[in-house]
C-alpha cells in the first residue's frame, strides 16, 4: 500500500515517525488498537518495563500516520506541565501550549508514559478528553478546546508491585480500553532479540533463557525481571565482541539489583545457562 503523508503543521511535524519501526505482534494487539483508534477510544497499555509498549505505539503511530507526542510522567509533573501555562515574554505574559494541548489541537496521538508516576490530581486533567466530550479545558485562559478529530490519547501503566500505594484511580482506569503486554513466548522473544540486537538465533535463545532466570526472582528479591530491552542490550554488547558473560553481567545482572547476595545468586543462575 502506498501511503501519502498527510500535511502537518510545523508544530507537530517533528513528531511524525518517518519509517516503520520494527514491531513483532504477539497477539491481536494491532487489531485492537486500530479498532480503538477508529472509534477514538483512549487506550491503556499495561505491562512491565521494557516489554515493548513504547515501540508498539511508535509502530501504531507510523501505521496510522499520526504524529506521536510522548510525555514521560513524573511525580513532579503538574497539570500545567501537561496543558500549558503563561510565560513571560519581553515583559508580557504569553500563553504557551503544553504537549497535551498541542496534540489535542493538531490531532496527534498523545502518549503519557508511566502514568502512575504522576500525581492523581494531575491525572484528572485528562478526564474530559477521555469521554464523549473530547474536550480540554484550559482554566487559566477560560477556554475549552475541542479535540481535533484525529486526536487520540494513550497511556501506559505498569501495575507492578506497590499497586496499593501507586495505583490509578478507578475513575481514571475505567475510561480506557486496555491492552495487556507480557513478555512474549520464549521463541517469539528470541526472534525479537535476534532481530533487534543482531545476535544469532542460538545466542538469542540463550539470552531468553537467562531472562527467565531473572524473571523467576521477580517478587522474591527482584522488583522486575530482565526486560526484552535488556536482552537486546546484552546481544548488542556481545556483537561488539565482548565475552558473553561480561555482556550479560553489564546489561542484565548489574542493572537489576544492588544487593550482593541476590546478585551472586542471579550471576550463578546465569552461569548455569551458559555453555
Amino acid at each position: 500500500m502506498t501511503k501519502i503523508a498527510p500535511k502537518f503543521s510545523d508544530a507537530v511535524g517533528a513528531f511524525v515517525i518517518p519509517s516503520e519501526p520494527y514491531y513483532r505482534a504477539v497477539g491481536d494487539e494491532i487489531a485492537v488498537y486500530e479498532a480503538a483508534y477508529r472509534e477514538r477510544l483512549p487506550v491503556m497499555l499495561k505491562g512491565p518495563t521494557g516489554c515493548g509498549k513504547t515501540r508498539f505505539l511508535e509502530h501504531m503511530a507510523w501505521r496510522l500516520r499520526r504524529p506521536l507526542i510522548t510525555i514521560a510522567a513524573s511525580e513532579d509533573m503538574t497539570a500545567a506541565d501537561l496543558v500549558g501555562r503563561y510565560l513571560l515574554l519581553s515583559g508580557e505574559t504569553a500563553w504557551r501550549d503544553g504537549p497535551l494541548t498541542l496534540a489535542v489541537r493538531e490531532g496527534a496521538i498523545c502518549y503519557i508514559d508511566e502514568i502512575v508516576e504522576a500525581r492523581q490530581d494531575t491525572t484528572v486533567a485528562i478526564h474530559p478528553l477521555t469521554d464523549a466530550r473530547r474536550l480540554l479545558p484550559l482554566e487559566k485562559r477560560n477556554e475549552q478546546i475541542a479535540a481535533h478529530p484525529d486526536f487520540q490519547l494513550t497511556i501506559s501503566y505498569n501495575p507492578g508491585y506497590q499497586s496499593a500505594v501507586k495505583d490509578l484511580k478507578e475513575s481514571t482506569k475505567q475510561r480506557f480500553v486496555a491492552i495487556d503486554f507480557g513478555f512474549p513466548a520464549p521463541e517469539v522473544e528470541a526472534e525479537i532479540v535476534e532481530k533487534e540486537s543482531g545476535a544469532d538465533a542460538k545466542l538469542a535463545r540463550l539470552l531468553v533463557l537467562v531472562a527467565e532466570r531473572s524473571r523467576n526472582l521477580r517478587g522474591h528479591g527482584l522488583e522486575e525481571g530482565a526486560s526484552t530491552r535488556m536482552l537486546i542490550h546484552a546481544g548488542r554488547l556481545a556483537r561488539q565482541g565482548l565475552p558473553l558473560k561480561a555482556a550479560i553481567e553489564s546489561a542484565v545482572v548489574l542493572p537489576l539489583t544492588d544487593e550482593d547476595e541476590l546478585r551472586g545468586a542471579l550471576r550463578e543462575a546465569v552461569d548455569a545457562c551458559l555453555p
Partner: protein, 731 residues
C-alpha cells in the same frame, strides 16, 4: 567447709600424709617451690578431704608453683570430685595443665554440679571452645547447654557431645560458612532456576547420631547439612550451591516416589545413582553451565574394587562422557544408561536392578548403613522412595526406611524430646511427624536476663496453619458497630498522607515555580508588591505505612473477652486500612516452649481483608502461651522486607508474657522490651494495644510509658486508635 579446714601450713599437711611415700615427697617439693604458707595449701587440703585419690593429688601438687590461685583451683577440683568422681577430677587437672586456663573453673564446677553425667563430654569440648574464644566462650557454652537442655540428662548429653546443632553453633561462635550463612543465597539461586521458591531448611542432627553429611529431600523440603565438616570455607559455598542445583534437578525432572518392593539395599542405592545421573543429564541439557558447577566434585578415579568405590566410579562415568573407565561393571552401566530414554522417569529402575545383580555376583560387600553417597553434593536419595506401602524385606532396607522416617520426624527437633509432657499439652497429632507439621520460619535470639546476654537462635518461630472460622462472624462484628467502623475509617483516611509532597510558592527550593514567577511578574507590571516566593520544594510527609498487627492468642486471652476485643480491634483496623490501601499484615501468635513459637498468618500485606482473611480471623482460638519477644522479632523481620517509609508493629495483647519453659515471667517481659528497643533502633515503631485493665505495670515495662494504650471496653477502641495515630504522627 571452713569447719573442716584443718592444716594451714605445709607442716600440717605433711603430718597428715606421713608414710604415704610419693605424696609426702611431692608436698615437700611443692612447699619448696611455692612457699610454705601459700594458698595452694588450702587447695591441697580441700582435695585431700574430697578423696580425689593419689594420682590426682600428685598431679595437682606437681603443678603448684609460687603464683596465686592454686587454692581456688584445689577447691574447684574438690567440688568436681564430689559432684562427679575422682576420675573426672583427674581428667580436669590434666586438661587444665594442658590448656593452662586459670579462668575456666567456675564454668567447669557449674557443669559438674548441674550436669555431672555430661562432665567428661563438656570437658572434651573445652579445648575447642577455648581455641575459638576464651574462658568466657567456654562459660557461655556451658551456660547455653544447661539452659537449653534443662533437666533432661539425655538432651544435655546430646548437647555436650555436639550432636545438637545449637551446641556446634555456640562453639564455633556463630557460623560463618554453614548453611545459615548460605541460605538466602541458595533460595534465590534455586528460585531462579526452578521458577518457584523452594523450602530449604537446615537438617537437624538426629538424636544420638552423627550430624547429617548430605542433603535430604523429604516432603517437598530440601534439608541441608548444617555444615560440611572437613570442607574448606571457600569450597563450602560451591558445595552448597552444587547441592542446591542437584536438588533442583530432582525437582525439575524427578517423578513421583517409587515403591521399594523387593529391591535390595544395593539396588536401591544404584537406582538412586542412576536417577541422579538422569536428572543431571536433563538439567545440563537445559542449563549447560551446571556441568562446570558439578564437575569438581567428581573425584573418583578408575581404580578400587569395593562397592563404594565402584559406585563412585559409575557415578563419575555416567556424569562425564570422557571418563576413562574400563571396569566391566562401569562399562555396562554406562552402556545401559546410554541406551535408555532419559526423559522417562521410570527408565532407571530396571537398569539399577540389572547392574545391582551384577555387582552382587561379583561378591563385593555393600553395607547400606556405612555407605554415604558420593560425590558430596548429591542428596541421600531417600526422597525417591516410598517405604510406607509394603514392609521392606531386608534389615538394611528397614534401616533406610527408619532413617527416612527420621528425616521427616527430625525436621522438627523439638520433637526429639521423649517426655510425656509435650503430649499432655493436648496436641492433636501423635509423635510421628505429619506432612502438615509446622514449618520453621526462623530462629531468633532471646535475652537471658540472669546472665545479661542475648542467647543466639534461642527461639524457633514456626508457621501454624490457620484454622478457618465463619467469615460472617467478622462481618457481623463490623456491622454491629457501624459507628466505630466509620470513625476508624475516617481516622485512617486522615492519617493517610503523601510520601513526598510538592510544595509550591516557596521562599527557597530546588526549582523555579514558573506559575509563581509569572504571577510575580504580573504583579510587578500592575504595580503590586511581588511575593518573592517563586520556588518549588519537596517535603516528606507521613505516609507509606506498612503495619503488622500482632495478635496475642495465648490461653490468657480467652479470659475476660480479651480475644473477642482483639478480634474487633483487628477487624476495624483491617477494614479501615484495606480501604485506604495501607498494607497491613495480621499475625496471630502463641507459643509452646521456645522451640515452638507458633505464628498464624491471618492476612498478608498485599492480601485484601476479604472473606478468606476474615474466616481465618474468626477461626483464631485462645490457647498456649505468650512468647512476645520472639513474635516481635519475627514481625520486625517481615516488616524489614517491605519497602515503606514508616513501619509499625501494633501488638494486641494482654501484656502477660509467659511460657511453659520459663519460670520467671519477668524474663520474657524484659526480653520483649529488648526486642522493642532493637526494633526501634531499626526504624520500626512498636505500639501496644493492651486489652483489659490492670496490666499497666507490665505494659509500661514492655512498651515504655508512651508506647501503649489500654482498652477496657470495645467502645474505647476508636479513641484509643486515634491516640495511637496521634503518637505515630508526632514522632
Amino acid at each position: 567447709m571452713s569447719a573442716l579446714r584443718g592444716p594451714r601450713s605445709v607442716a600440717d599437711l605433711a603430718a597428715r600424709l606421713k608414710g604415704r611415700g610419693a605424696l609426702e615427697t611431692a608436698i615437700a617439693a611443692a612447699g619448696r617451690r611455692a612457699g610454705e604458707t601459700g594458698d595452694w595449701v588450702e587447695g591441697a587440703d580441700a582435695l585431700l578431704h574430697a578423696h580425689v585419690g593419689e594420682v590426682a593429688l600428685l598431679a595437682f601438687l606437681s603443678a603448684v608453683d609460687n603464683s596465686d590461685g592454686f587454692g581456688a583451683v584445689g577447691i574447684a577440683l574438690a567440688d568436681i570430685c564430689r559432684e562427679t568422681n575422682a576420675r573426672m577430677a583427674l581428667a580436669a587437672i590434666e586438661a587444665w595443665r594442658r590448656l593452662g586456663r586459670p579462668g575456666w573453673w567456675p564454668a567447669l564446677t557449674r557443669l559438674a554440679r548441674e550436669a555431672p553425667e555430661s562432665f567428661s563430654l563438656g570437658l572434651n569440648q573445652a579445648g575447642a571452645a577455648l581455641a575459638a574464644s576464651d574462658e568466657s566462650g567456654f562459660a557461655n557454652f556451658v551456660a547455653v547447654g544447661l539452659k537449653a537442655a534443662g533437666s533432661d540428662p539425655t538432651r544435655r548429653r546430646r548437647f555436650f557431645a555436639l550432636e545438637d546443632p545449637l551446641a556446634r553453633r555456640v562453639l564455633s561462635g556463630g557460623d560463618t560458612d554453614g548453611f545459615a550463612a548460605n541460605e538466602r543465597h541458595l533460595v534465590a539461586f534455586v528460585t531462579a532456576l526452578l521458577g518457584r521458591v523452594p523450602f530449604l531448611r537446615p537438617f537437624p542432627a538426629p538424636a544420638g547420631r552423627a550430624p547429617a553429611r548430605r542433603v535430604s529431600i523429604a516432603e517437598g523440603v530440601i534439608l541441608f547439612p548444617d555444615s560440611y565438616p572437613g570442607v574448606r570455607a571457600e569450597a563450602t559455598k560451591r558445595l552448597y550451591q552444587a547441592a542446591a542445583a542437584h536438588a533442583a534437578a530432582h525437582r525439575m525432572f524427578g517423578a513421583s516416589r517409587w515403591k521399594v518392593g523387593s529391591l535390595k539395599p544395593l539396588q536401591i542405592a544404584l537406582i538412586g545413582l542412576l536417577e541422579d545421573a538422569r536428572v543431571e543429564a536433563l538439567a545440563m541439557l537445559r542449563f549447560p553451565g551446571l556441568r562446570r558447577l558439578w564437575t569438581p566434585f567428581h573425584t573418583a578415579r578408575p581404580e578400587g574394587g569395593t562397592a563404594p568405590s565402584l559406585m563412585a566410579r559409575m557415578a563419575r562415568a555416567l556424569f562425564e562422557p570422557g571418563f576413562p573407565d574400563s571396569h566391566g561393571f562401569v562399562v555396562k552401566a554406562r552402556q545401559l544408561f546410554g541406551e535408555a530414554d532419559l526423559t522417562d522417569p521410570s527408565a532407571m529402575r530396571p537398569i539399577g536392578g540389572l547392574i545391582g545383580n551384577d555387582l552382587g555376583q561379583m561378591r563385593v560387600q555393600f553395607n547400606a548403613r556405612d555407605w554415604t553417597i558420593e560425590p558430596a553434593y548429591r542428596d541421600d536419595n531417600l526422597g525417591l522412595w516410598d517405604f510406607e506401602g509394603e514392609p521392606p524385606q531386608s534389615s538394611e532396607a528397614i534401616d533406610l526406611m527408619i532413617d527416612a522416617a527420621r528425616v521427616r520426624q527430625e525436621e522438627d527437633d523439638g520433637r526429639a524430646e521423649p517426655s510425656a509432657a509435650t503430649q499432655s499439652v493436648g496436641r492433636a497429632r501423635p509423635m510421628p511427624a505429619a506432612p502438615d507439621e509446622p514449618f520453621v520460619l526462623a530462629r531468633y535470639p532471646e535475652w537471658d536476663r540472669a546472665h545479661g546476654v542475648e542467647r543466639l537462635d534461642w527461639t524457633c518461630v514456626r508457621a501454624t496453619p490457620p484454622k478457618t472460622g465463619d467469615a460472617y462472624r467478622i462481618d457481623a462484628l463490623l456491622d454491629r458497630a457501624p459507628d466505630l467502623r466509620r470513625r476508624v475509617h475516617r481516622l485512617a483516611r486522615s492519617a493517610r498522607a503523601g510520601r513526598l509532597t510538592r510544595l509550591r510558592r516557596q521562599a527557597e527550593g530546588h526549582d523555579l515555580d514558573v506559575d509563581a514567577l509569572v504571577e510575580d511578574a504580573v504583579r510587578v507590571a500592575t504595580g503590586d508588591t511581588p511575593d518573592g516566593r517563586v520556588y518549588r520544594a519537596n517535603a516528606p510527609r507521613l505516609r507509606d505505612l506498612a503495619t503488622v498487627a500482632l495478635i496475642d492468642v495465648s490461653e490468657s486471652t480467652g479470659e475476660a473477652n480479651v480475644l473477642e476485643m482483639e478480634r474487633l480491634a483487628v477487624s476495624l483496623l483491617g477494614d479501615a486500612l484495606d480501604a485506604t490501601h495501607d498494607p497491613i499484615a495480621l499475625l496471630a501468635f502463641a507459643s509452646d516452649g521456645r522451640e515452638r513459637v507458633g505464628l498464624t498468618r491471618v492476612k498478608d500485606f498485599d492480601e485484601p481483608f476479604g472473606p478468606a482473611a476474615r474466616s481465618r480471623l474468626a477461626g483464631l482460638e485462645a490457647g498456649l502461651s505468650t512468647r512476645l519477644g520472639a513474635a516481635l522479632r519475627h514481625a520486625g523481620a517481615e516488616l524489614k522486607r517491605r519497602r515503606a517509609s514508616r513501619r509499625l508493629i501494633l501488638v494486641m495483647t494482654d501484656a502477660e508474657p509467659s511460657d511453659i519453659d520459663v519460670t520467671d515471667p519477668l524474663d520474657l517481659v524484659e526480653d520483649a522490651a529488648r526486642a522493642i528497643a532493637r526494633l526501634k533502633d531499626g526504624g520500626v515503631d512498636v505500639l501496644g494495644v493492651v486489652m483489659g485493665e490492670g496490666a499497666a505495670h507490665r505494659a509500661t515495662r514492655i512498651f515504655g510509658r508512651s508506647g501503649y494504650v489500654t482498652v477496657a471496653r470495645p467502645s474505647e477502641l476508636p479513641t484509643r486508635f486515634a491516640d495511637l495515630y496521634f503518637r505515630l504522627s508526632r514522632r
